[in-house]
Symmetry: C2
Subunit: 170 residues, 2 copies
DNA sequence: TTGGAGTGTCAACAAGGCTGACATAAAGTA
DNA sequence: TACTTTATGTCAGCCTTGTTGACACTCCAA
């Protein structure tokens, strides 16, 4: 990929960060970084019978206690069958409890049990340790940029879910 | 959320960007963004019989033509059985060709065929379109920060692979 | 009362990870 | 030369996690 033939490059110095080569490096950075991002929790989960899907369920239940199955479905973007399989094991293993809704008894509200919270903590700690080191090394401005780009990369519905979670955490 | 992005982070000496809440938002941003990142190529691949694993193989073969199986194995971080299954279909479908090494005849050097290059282009274009839009919206400084943080998030071996690819592209 | 929403579950299947075992050819080494 | 190691391929079998399709049940709302 010679820099001469990049059409975005010829428009001016300010757009050099949008060359195909830069974008390709961006994708590769995403690929390698995501590997690192999931590596630590994956190691913990491998010892249990759990996988990444369990981690995601535990994470978002912990983040939004009392959430319904349907809401979780929207956040995770999988089928109810797929989620249900995961929830079933988590419930029967006593990490998650499912409560019939008071207003609408069709809904199930999901909460972590103490054991669930403990595992959530363990997984989050592992993941956060890496992120914390990365953030600290990169510095506040880089972190702000990191989040700006990630947010711009999301699908609109995902961006909305993300924003809702962000608000609920403050 | 009082003032748009809650950037307690922009003050250089403050460590508020390292709070657990900020880190948690960082993980969630990674999760949602990665979904967006893979969504477009996934849609193209779904129509063919291929999956994300095929995309990755095609991408890195296209990026480093003539690479050996072992090298690809290290970059992708999967087992040879897993990679071989993917390569077998790509070769028999005429997207990738495998050549016995000249110096070391045990090695196989992998190249994309014209058809392989065409698919690689189609997939890259889809993925780059989203990345380009995100980069443009976020601006050069944010993109620089994005890459700094991602790089800091990688495992050292991945960072080395990433650096090698980065150099080879310039 | 009926339709539809929210949920759970069964069955079947596919992709793509994994391990283990074994085969082959080529290269390196004692 | 004989032995070992490396690079690769392949078979078999297992797991997780995604998918579709079908069906049942409960309950809300029109």
């Amino acid at each position: 990929m010679a820099d001469g033939r990049q059409n975005s490059a010829v428009r001016g110095d300010s757009l050099l960060f949008l060359t195909d080569e830069q974008l390709r490096q961006g994708s590769e950075a995403m690929f390698f970084a995501y590997r690192g991002f999931t590596a630590d929790p994956d190691r913990i989960l491998a010892d249990l019978t759990y996988g990444r899907a369990h981690h995601r369920a535990i994470h978002f239940i912990g983040r939004a206690p009392g959430t319904t199955v349907n809401n979780l479905l929207n956040i995770l973007g999988v089928t109810k069958q797929s989620l249900n399989r995961v929830l079933r094991t988590l419930i029967s293993d006593g990490l998650v409890k499912s409560q019939v809704g008071r207003n609408d008894k069709r809904e199930r509200h999901l909460h972590l049990t103490d054991a669930g919270r403990a595992l959530e903590q363990e997984l989050s700690d592992a993941q956060r340790a890496r992120l914390r080191a990365a953030f600290r090394d990169a510095g506040p401005e880089a972190v702000a940029g990191f989040r700006t780009v990630l947010e711009a990369m999301m699908d609109p519905e995902m961006r909305a879910s993300y924003a809702r979670l962000k608000e609920s955490g403050t």
